[in-house]
Amino acid sequence: MRVAILRFPGSNCEPDAYRAVAREGGTPYYLFHRDTDLQDADAVILPGGFSYGDYLRAGAIARFSPIMPAVERHAADGKPVLGICNGFQILCESGLLPGALERNAGLKYLSRPVDVRIERVDTPFTAHYRKGDVIRIPIGHGDGRFTAAPETLAELEQQGQVVLRYVERPKVDAPGNPNGALNDIAGIANRDGNVVGMMPHPERLADPLLGSEVGRRFFSSLVQWKRPALVSHA
């Protein structure tokens, strides 16, 4: 599985995604924002970081990078695209995913663990989890409050496009939803389920040496992903 990992000026989690893919036996490689060809990628990851310093709005400038038209075509072909954190923000800005990621309700950057429930297991990134699994992985963001117009939100729920939701464990002394995201949304997919964006960072807990590797299955799912046979919608 060839996995293109995009580097925008200011990306800083691309080595983390690279390692996570390589560990599961995939073939990661970097592409630069100025590239225009995905070089036969089977999947694309837009990593975390601060593309263009997050100046103006997170992801707003990166979405115009020369590489993005190729990503749009790849997505339109139904192939897997994952945006993590800043990558999620770029996907929303570019319209590949609906909604927007706004300043955290607490107005502060937040680096902490969150508990998220896997709501969908038929995406290329979550197939190795069981529906309802709750995993604890880190977030690190200042702009992670998922927002969408009421109609969009209703549609996301109806279509089952919510992939990850923040949950609160009993008797903890911190809110389960760290940023005020509507409907506790931590990650969503597009209609076809091939494009996924998420605020938490599974790639940061994917190495046995770190003491927890609960994030690994996002990458093992991807590396072993087989595209389902096309079902005609006609």
Partner: protein
Amino acid sequence: MSFRVHIRVMPRRGLLDPQGQAVERALGALQFAGASNVHVGKAIELDVAAQDEASARAAARAMCDKLLANPVTEDFEIAVEPK
């Protein structure tokens, strides 16, 4: 000709504006009792070279549509003055 363009990008009415709320609370705490309905957005200023005011304004609108404002969550206003 060159125009100075002032753009105000504000959170869309009805959406949560935590920053506006925080400022409103802080103003209250500082005893600025008369302040209410506070919203915080972005101010962008730039020079635009254009034939006339109308085209400077049109250019600024295009910039907002494309880049400067997020159509999902923000509204914008443009003011143009000759330099």
